[in-house]
């Protein structure tokens, strides 16, 4: 075990996989000698050479196009998109190509070995172009997996599993935790399962569901609610796609209430899918409507960032409303 922050845990996972599999390659804007603008890829070029860890020209559509080709050839590309806000030029390559490669070829070719890493989320005074949480855009696209870790331990285990999984994975890293979140991380190799939610805290009155950096928010709100005698179950979804409806439904059947929290705008955010599914699967168990505590339906603000955030206070208020319903 070692104390690592989230960046170190990711770097550690990358070293692990690059040592093990010489087909693994890490690339993106500034990821080479410099080690990436957040330094997640520090020292990889020194350790594994310029052929396996390199800067690309500044073109997200090119990075993912290149990665798709490399994956279909049998290499193991780990591509970085510098900010999730800049993933959209690659949207076509991801949604029409990465995700449909295996299907359209009847399984002859695929991008199964591809992993796309990208920092996402707000709370860092980044404004509308350094704060977005675009998971829902990709969750509507069959063929991709989407994974979000909540801390360094989760990050290493989930990233190793994502890289080795034979499906393309979009691995979204909560950047406000990069240095802020520190935890014990085993130095040896381990994997955490994809597609499985994680019950972070058991409780009986309401299920609080989220992912990534928002898990901390849920924890704070749960602590506030506890003062009122409310027992919250906290579930980290971890995989947005495919998502673990079963664990969520079981939790809701137990608590009778569900609150979902995400930073992305409310409308069409992934909470809507969860609410739609759970109201169907748990109709007779629900004692109140599924509550969504999300970003506003606006671009991500700068001056009003605090006000925009689905923070612990808004979450706590929604817990109270849901319990009083």
């Amino acid at each position: 075990m070692a104390k690592m922050n989230l960046l170190q845990a990711i770097n550690n996972a990358l070293v692990t996989v690059m040592e093990e599999d010489e087909r693994a390659m890490v690339f993106g804007e500034d990821v080479g000698h410099f080690g990436g603008v957040f330094r997640a890829t520090s020292n990889l070029q020194e350790k594994f050479g310029k052929g396996r860890c390199f800067n690309t020209p500044l073109t997200e559509q090119g990075i993912i196009g290149f990665a798709n080709g490399l994956a279909s050839q049998g290499s193991v590309p780990i591509a970085e998109i510098q900010f999730a806000d800049y993933i959209f030029p690659a949207f076509d390559q991801i949604v029409n190509e990465t995700a449909k490669f295996r299907y359209r070829s009847g399984g002859q070719f695929s991008c199964g070995t591809l992993t796309i890493r990208t920092p996402y989320g707000g709370g860092i005074a980044g404004g509308l172009y350094h704060s977005q949480s675009p998971e829902a855009f990709f969750a509507h696209c069959p063929g991709l997996k989407i994974v979000v870790p909540r801390n360094p331990y989760q990050a290493k285990g989930l990233l190793l599993a994502s890289i080795r999984d034979d499906n393309p994975v979009l691995f979204m890293e909560p950047k406000r935790l990069y240095r802020a979140s520190v935890s014990d991380v085993p130095e040896e190799d381990y994997e955490l399962p994809l597609g499985k939610a994680d019950i972070v805290q058991e409780g009986s009155d309401i299920t609080l569901l989220g992912w990534g950096a928002q898990i901390e928010i849920l924890q704070q709100a749960a602590d506030m609610a506890l003062e009122d005698g409310v027992s919250c179950e906290i579930v980290d979804l971890r995989s947005i796609s495919p998502w673990d409806a079963q664990t969520v439904a079981e939790s809701v059947m137990k608590t009778g209430r569900l609150l979902i929290n995400h930073e992305a705008p409310l409308t069409g955010g992934f909470a809507s899918e969860i609410a739609a599914t759970i109201q169907d699967q748990c109709f007779l168990y629900l004692e109140a409507p599924v509550a969504r505590v999300c970003g506003l339906d606006t671009p991500y603000p700068l001056a009003h960032e605090k006000e925009y955030m689905p923070d612990q206070y808004k979450t706590y208020e929604a817990i109270k409303r849901t319990l009083k319903y």
């Binding site: 087909r23 073109t59 196009g65």
Partner: protein
Amino acid sequence: MQDRNHLAQVDTTHQVHIIENGLIDIPMLQILKPDGTLHEQAQEPDIDQETARKMYDTMEYIRVLDERMVGAQRQGRISFYLASTGEEAAAVGSAAALQPQDMIMSQYREQGALAYRGYTTSQFMNQMFSNQKDPNKGRQMPIHYGDKPLNFMTISSPLGTQIPQAAGYAYGQKMAGQDAVTICYFGEGAASEGDFHAGLNMAAVLKCPVIFFCRNNGYAISTPAEEQFAGDGIASRGLGYGVKTIRVDGNDPLAVYAATLKARELALEERCPILIEAMTYRLAAHSTSDDPTGYRSRDEEDKWRLKDPIQRMAKWLQHKGWYDEQANKTLVDETRKEVLSALKEAEKVPVNPIEDIVSDVYDKVPAHLQKQVDELKDHIEKYPKAYPKTAGRSK
């Protein structure tokens, strides 16, 4: 850290110096005259009779296949087709210069390259009927072929996406130390996509052994080349990327062959990309959904009919004494018959059973898709008449 100087190669001038069209001249390689004889200054590529005959036969084969399939579409037997008439030399001449281990990533009008690799008439038909013998499992519209054993990447409809992919594929080949390159075909229309820019630039910077082969056939559906770009074709872009570039007469099979041979050699030796621009003309309609009389004249087409690559090669073969009139007639007749019977055969093969509707989305069928297909199967059982292709069948 070593000092960098991005001005090292730059000269200085003291007058406003404008770089513009016409500054370089990009001539087009032509080896055969339209009458099939060699240009005086041209060198015949090193090509044996067998290869030459295979090229020729493949072009003839594709011409017949195209013609028959356009017919089949008109009869309503298939939903869609897209012919390469007039452009056969571009695909076949280049494919002939490659090795089987080279990956082909095509746009959609390069059936000649696939046929040259050995794709059979039945295989063509199975794809076009989306039946269960299609290795792509009937998932795409007709002409979106793909065959892993032949190193022919499954075609994707969105234009240009294969261009950066080809750079990546070739990079992977290089890293794996393979004696192989990737060839990437696309039209001059597709070359307007952002992916073209990304692909060529990345290939140049990352030194990928890839041949970018542009068929400049004058049109992108109805849009003429002059409304597609204002530079000197696609070749003039090579310079901007620092990519070695060759322009070739796309209707001259020998020139295409020679250019591609050279390109492959350079790509492998120098581990670098090469751009080939093949100047040709889409004699066919864009596809069976298109009617070119809406945007171009018969007269214009006729001028290009005179540059027919098949005729040109036939004449050259005659000069060489490698042409066999009778064998050729047999080939054409046999192909017609073969197409018809393969078509009838493929028509009868059922589509994949319903289970396949959820396969290959992921490596394994995840729980939510298993549930969706199970419910669908129950539903089909209730309404068998509404789903005649799959009702009553199971895997």
